[in-house]
């Protein structure tokens, strides 16, 4: 509820979205083009580094998990403010003002940014062929470890198991160091198998 009230932008009328997405109507203002996407991706990478550098990984937290397991006490890595970072508000464009809210907003923003740099984001897949090689190479410097930890922290905080894989609804499970995700048959297109097999085995992608 807090998130919806504070940071989510919504359209009041569908016609504005239609206008922005149709290049014949909005021309250079159209947001649905590869050029705009690449500009956007470039900006996301900058933002990702900005947030990632303000966090450090803390591997000293001990958690008690009430599971029937021999190893009840686990060391689980968490993100904590990097040395010199006093307030979470400074990293945010529109801080709420309290550290409690802003530290959560910052985790949420960092997670959202990082997600959009992965092939689980449907726009990333959709425009993938248009991404210049130079921008793609910059993805090698992304901090995937901190991105993984922030996802796990948010899933736990929100007690959620909803994830997206290639833009499709998926189920997530987390353990101390891992995020597992599964897309079920019912979320896939029904008409698949023949085309699926054809595409897969014409590809030589494992070499």
């Amino acid at each position: 509820m807090f998130m919806e009230r504070s940071v989510t932008l919504r359209f009041y009328h569908k016609s504005f979205k239609d206008f922005l997405c149709d290049p014949t109507r909005s021309g250079s203002f159209c947001v649905n083009t590869p050029a705009i996407y690449c500009k956007f991706l470039d900006h996301l990478i900058q933002c990702h580094h900005h947030y990632a550098s303000s966090y450090a990984i803390d591997g000293s937290s001990m958690y008690f998990l009430p599971l029937a397991s021999a190893l009840n006490l686990l060391v689980i890595p968490d993100l904590v403010p990097a040395p010199g970072i006093i307030s979470s508000s400074t990293a945010l464009s529109w801080p709420h003002g309290t550290e409690c809210a802003d530290s959560y907003l910052k985790l949420w923003a960092f997670s959202g940014l990082s997600f959009r740099l992965s092939c689980d984001d449907s726009d990333f897949c959709r425009f993938f062929e248009d991404i210049p090689f130079a921008i793609l190479q910059r993805l090698a410097d992304v901090d995937y470890r901190k991105s993984l930890i922030v996802d796990r922290m948010l899933w736990e905080l929100e007690d959620s198991s909803n994830a997206l894989v290639f833009g499709i609804r998926a189920t997530a499970r987390t353990s101390s160091h891992t995020a597992f995700e599964c897309v079920r048959t019912k979320n896939f297109d029904e008409l698949v198998p023949a085309a699926f097999i054809r595409v897969c085995f014409n590809y030589d992608y494992l070499q």
Partner: protein
């Protein structure tokens, strides 16, 4: 800056089909490998049976199953990324992990059962410490969270299809 654009992309996303997904996935993997964002991951010699098995499967091209095992990113910033799809079962699984050996072992042991515990929950299979039962109602506590609430009914509202019990934390 530009959160507006970010949300806009969410709105214009279109639903893609299974066919396109796998097609795109293969292209993405290929190109990311060329850009050195990802590289094939080979578990250390002497690692567990489960991690060796996932590695072997990821190197094999079979008609029934395809998978990949990669290191995503560099050095201290990297994670290990496993993905696999099963043509017969029409399932896609992936995991990203910092501790590959533990993840592979957990995945091999639980890959069929770990996902749907919430959907097919059977009250009889829940251990007594995680549930509370009345004559015509029951409550189940999340076994993954420390139990902090106690529940008991204070109101009973009749509803067309079921009875709703309201309870409070004590």
């Amino acid at each position: 800056m530009n959160w507006f654009l970010l949300h806009l992309f969410e709105y214009v996303s279109t639903m893609i089909t299974y066919n396109e997904i796998i097609h795109t996935h293969c292209q993405v993997v290929n190109k990311l490998e060329k850009a050195k964002v990802i590289r094939p991951y080979i578990p250390l010699f002497g690692s567990s049976r489960a991690s060796a098995l996932l590695h072997t499967l990821s190197r094999r091209k079979s008609v029934r199953r395809n998978s990949g095992l990669y290191k995503l990113g560099h050095g201290e910033k990297s994670v290990i990324w496993y993905w696999g799809f099963d043509v017969e079962k029409q399932l896609f699984h992936q995991f990203k992990t910092i501790d590959y050996a533990a993840a592979a072992e957990f995945y091999e042991a639980n890959k069929l059962t770990m996902w749907w515990e919430d959907v097919d929950l059977d009250i009889n299979s829940v251990p007594p410490e995680h549930k509370k039962e009345g004559t015509d109602w029951f409550a189940i506590f999340n076994p993954r969270a420390t139990r902090q609430l106690e529940v008991s009914p204070i109101h009973t509202l009749m509803h067309e299809r079921c009875t709703i019990l309201h309870s409070v934390a004590e």
